[in-house]
């Protein structure tokens, strides 16, 4: 039985499709007058967020509560970590209080994996974002939202076959990009990465993606344009030249948005840095931006994951 959700590589196509099918059910629950089910009553979910994140934490919070689970929030800044207690000690303290799952976000890659090796049998670890490595629930909710838009409810055999997804921005430092690539390609979509060479990982020759530096050329061929954040620090580091240069080549400007086909959609994991990856007015005016739908589906996807790991007793291949 699947114990943890650490990265999407661990799931095969059937596993991803099962989660997406389950998400359909939880989207429906979210639309009810009382969007709550007793499925995880009596279970406790601990949110261990070592890195600040309001949106993801709230999303997991709501998801757990809609399943009637209890939630413990452990945030690093106010914790004993500052007094020198190790992560392992903190995990053991939580275990002693009686929990069923730990949702972890950390700025260092691999921490959820390490925690999964320390917890007792029966406690599930869910990766809510580790360093540059993975953000599996984001990948799932992005794929679900795209599927919902183009194909309708996921059903038992969700597929993105025939769709072309473009991911633009700082791929190297983006765990969202890595998980998106996993989810989209597993479901059959074609993925192209568009970024300056210094913002791509060193060796991606074995990745199932295409790479381009010519955004103008790729845009008309896309069904989905996935915008990723680019932080100003990259300029200070010497990874990119001036901001103006980056915007010239890689930003979704008023001029560029006209190159998109009239069925193409735009996704963004949030929060948007207006003026860098996209011109603010473009995002406001474009008719097919899935950002908000991503957020509401995010709750349903996380409910599906929590239910699968803590409640269903099902085998997840």
């Amino acid at each position: 039985m699947m114990k943890h959700l650490l990265e999407l590589e661990e799931l095969d196509l059937e596993g991803i499709q099962a989660i997406l099918q389950l998400t359909d059910r939880f989207v429906e629950v979210g639309e009810r007058a009382i969007p709550k089910v007793p499925a995880l009553r009596g279970k406790t979910v601990a949110n261990m967020f070592f890195e600040d994140s309001t949106r993801t934490r709230l999303s997991f919070d709501v998801a757990a509560k809609r399943l009637s689970a209890d939630v413990l929030t452990f945030s690093a800044s106010s914790s004993s970590l500052n007094k020198g207690e190790s992560i392992r000690d903190s995990v053991e303290t939580l275990e002693a209080m009686g929990i069923n799952a730990i949702v972890v976000r950390h700025s260092s890659s691999g921490v959820p994996q390490q925690i999964s090796r320390w917890v007792n049998e029966g406690i599930s670890v869910i990766n809510a974002g580790d360093g540059w490595h993975a953000h599996p629930t984001q990948g799932l909710l992005d794929a679900y939202t795209v599927c919902e838009h183009f194909r309708g409810p996921a059903g038992p055999a969700a597929s993105l076959q025939g769709l072309h997804v473009g991911l633009v921005g700082d791929i190297l430092h983006s765990r969202v990009a890595r998980s998106d690539i996993q989810a989209y390609t597993a479901l059959g979509a074609t993925v192209t990465l568009i970024a300056p060479p210094t913002l791509l990982p060193a060796d991606i020759s074995t990745w199932p993606v295409r790479v381009s530096q010519d955004l103008d050329q790729v845009l008309p061929t896309l069904d989905v344009l996935g915008l990723l954040r680019v932080q100003r620090e990259r300029m200070a580091e010497g990874s990119i030249g001036s901001m103006r240069e980056y915007i010239e080549e890689f930003s979704l400007t008023q001029r560029r948005v006209k190159l998109l086909s009239d069925t193409a959609v735009i996704t963004h994991p949030g929060p948007v840095v207006r003026g860098v990856e996209v011109t603010g007015s473009v995002l406001d005016e474009y008719p097919r931006v899935l950002k908000n739908r991503q957020v509401s589906n995010g709750v349903a996807v996380r409910m599906a994951v929590l239910f699968l790991l803590l409640g269903s007793g099902a085998e997840l291949v």
Partner: protein, 188 residues
């Protein structure tokens, strides 16, 4: 046959092997016709009646009853479906997945809901359904129609409308399908 029935009967899972036929297709039709008349009679007409079928075993039964109600009274009774997987009290004890749709087309407040299922066994599924219904409004009343009542109740639940009472042993399985009702066992 209902996944539920299979899951609730030892040896949990396996292949259904029939040992006898309880009702043939014609007999099922007659039983459902009688039930439809009973529903109309008990509720003095079909005002404010909503049929809610339990996934997956009650769906075809409810469609059949809705069709019969239309033939008898000329009324199109609103019909919904409900998957109670998320409300079960044995979550985590055995595989439970909400695989089927829940669609309730109307607000249930002040309505009389007739829950429809194929087989009534321990009563736990119906208890879960009652919980679930509460999340869709506050019905004025809830009634229960089943094709077969096979006994072995574990909760104080009783049906209002029954096709046939069938005493069974715990390890036997009842399969209700469009061709009729079969009694059998599960073989691994």
């Amino acid at each position: 046959m209902a996944d539920r029935e299979r899951r609730m009967t030892p040896p949990f899972g396996g292949v259904f092997v029939a040992t006898s036929t309880i009702l043939d297709q014609a007999q099922v039709h007659r039983a459902l016709t009688r039930i439809s008349h009973e529903i109309i009679e008990k509720n003095r007409g079909l005002d404010n009646i909503v049929l809610v079928a339990l996934q997956t075993g009650g769906v075809q039964v409810a469609e059949h009853i809705a069709q019969l109600l239309f033939e008898i009274e000329g009324v199109d009774v609103p019909t919904g479906t409900i998957d109670v997987a998320l409300y079960r009290d044995d979550i985590g004890l055995r595989p439970v997945m909400p695989e089927a749709e829940t669609t309730i087309p109307v607000d249930l407040t002040a309505k009389t809901v007739v829950l429809v299922d194929d087989v009534l066994f321990t009563g736990r599924t119906i208890r879960a359904a009652l919980d679930a219904l509460n999340d869709f409004g506050r019905p004025r009343a809830v009634q229960l129609a089943v094709v077969i009542d096979r006994g072995h109740r574990e909760l104080p639940i009783r049906p209002d409308f029954v096709g046939k009472n069938l005493p069974t042993r715990r390890e036997e399985v009842v399969d209700v399908n469009p061709e009729g009702v079969l009694l059998g066992v599960m073989r691994k």
